[in-house]
């Protein structure tokens, strides 16, 4: 039950994008079309899950026992960067169409602050291994949800008559603001 709460909390109540402002760059950059936003969300979720597992192991099995916690940023970011590289190679090997769909986004994921943020939050909240896994899954689901909704809205927005000075980033930010307002309705539902 607690695990489900962690999942829902990370996905909806404390949505990474709309409540913590993590992963704004792809959220604004790749949310033009639903057909690219959804795969991007899935790729991010996959990397998030791997990151949660690997960084938890590194933190509790290497950094803490050897008392080198101050190395956490350097080691986390290196792990994330190499993980992304690994995922890219893996997808390229397994499925060419998927690689063509996701390939360009994968390098972007390295500098997605949601990934590093996830690793830091897991340390901050002192989660156990299973909790960390569910937290990572929830955060990924939340990111996918937010970016897909955003892409859906932006596809409709193409047809709308937006003032010239608000086209592009400004209107996207305002839409994101309204989305954040909507997600605020979930606030206080769960406090984990």
């Amino acid at each position: 039950m607690e695990l489900i709460l962690i999942f829902i909390s990370a996905a909806i109540v404390n949505n990474f994008v709309l409540a913590y402002f993590l992963g704004i760059c792809p959220f604004i950059g790749v949310s033009n079309k639903l057909s690219s936003a959804f795969p991007m969300g899935l790729a991010t979720t996959f990397v998030m899950l791997l990151t949660a597992i690997v960084t938890w192991l590194i933190y509790h099995l290497i950094l803490v026992p050897y008392d080198v916690v101050y190395l956490q940023y350097v080691s986390f970011i290196l792990v994330v960067a190499s993980l992304v590289q690994f995922v890219e190679m893996f997808i390229k090997k397994v499925s060419q169409p998927l690689y063509r769909a996701l390939g360009i986004f994968l390098p972007l994921i390295t500098t997605n602050c949601a990934i590093l943020g996830l690793a830091l939050f897991i340390v901050l909240k002192d989660y156990s291994f299973i909790q960390a896994v569910f937290y990572g899954l929830g955060a990924g689901a939340g990111f996918t949800l937010a970016i897909s909704i955003m892409a859906g809205i932006r596809e409709e927005l193409e047809l709308a008559n937006v003032p010239k000075s608000f086209q592009g980033a400004p209107i996207t930010l305002i839409v994101a603001g309204l989305l954040a307002l909507a997600f605020m309705g979930f606030a206080g539902m769960i406090s984990v």
């Binding site: 760059c25 940023y73 960067a81 500098t111 602050c113 830091l120 003032p163 010239k164 000075s165 400004p170």
Partner: protein
């Protein structure tokens, strides 16, 4: 040979022409997350500038030693080292501020503004030029963070840098200090700035057009220049 621009221009371009936030839409995460007050904005801006300046200096000094295949990884390690320094210093010297900024200080590592400047500028220019560029971009970032922080602080809690600026009768807009307020305010600010730029441009175009009509030969030469 590329046209050399003066060092002063390297600095000033970051303030407005290529302002990292308003023009390039980089570094949005800290921009939106910490700007509940102007003070937070300044602190975050200074921390980011520190990291940007020192990593630019180091990277442009050793740019010829870094093999291009592993350059991104090397940049990230250098940046992460400076972020660790900032984080430890802030935790020791300003514990309250450090607590308020929370995980957003370590997240400077993945601020695309910093990595972007290393890739686009420091790796191709000598240290002096990279230093000016980093200082300019940092200042532009501080300006953006502080102005957004100031607007949100004034409307959301009636204060500016902790001093009350709006009368008690003004009901604070709670939404301003919530996440939604950050998106809305930044969106409106960017839209407004675009509006000003567009208006200036159309006015200039009109002026040019009227000059064209008066002196057709002159305008032809001008057009070629442009």
């Amino acid at each position: 040979m590329k046209k050399q621009v003066s060092l002063a221009t390297e600095y000033t371009k970051g303030l407005w022409d290529q302002n990292p936030v308003f023009k390039q839409v980089l570094g949005m995460c800290p921009m939106l997350a910490v700007t509940v007050s102007a003070m937070n904005g300044i602190a975050m801006g200074l921390a980011t500038t520190f990291v940007l300046v020192f990593s630019s200096l180091i990277i442009s000094s050793i740019r010829k030693l870094i093999p291009s295949q592993v350059r991104i990884a090397s940049y990230i390690v250098i940046i992460a080292t400076f972020v660790t320094i900032v984080d430890l210093v802030m935790r020791a010297q300003f514990p309250a501020l450090s607590k308020e900024l929370g995980p957003y200080i370590p997240l400077i590592v993945v601020n695309c503004l910093i990595l972007g400047r290393q890739e686009a500028f420091s790796s191709k220019n000598h240290p002096g030029r990279a230093l000016m560029d980093a200082l300019g971009m940092g200042s532009g970032f501080i300006i953006a963070l502080t102005s957004l922080g100031a607007v949100r602080e004034i409307l959301g809690s009636r204060t500016l840098l902790g001093f009350q600026v709006l009368p008690d009768g003004f009901e604070p807009w709670l939404v301003m200090i919530l996440p939604a307020g950050a998106f809305l305010t930044l969106g409106l600010m960017m839209g407004f700035l675009n509006f000003m730029v567009l208006r200036k441009k159309t006015r200039e175009e009109k002026e040019l057009l009227s000059r064209h009509l008066q002196e057709p030969k002159m305008s032809l030469a001008k057009g070629q220049e442009a």
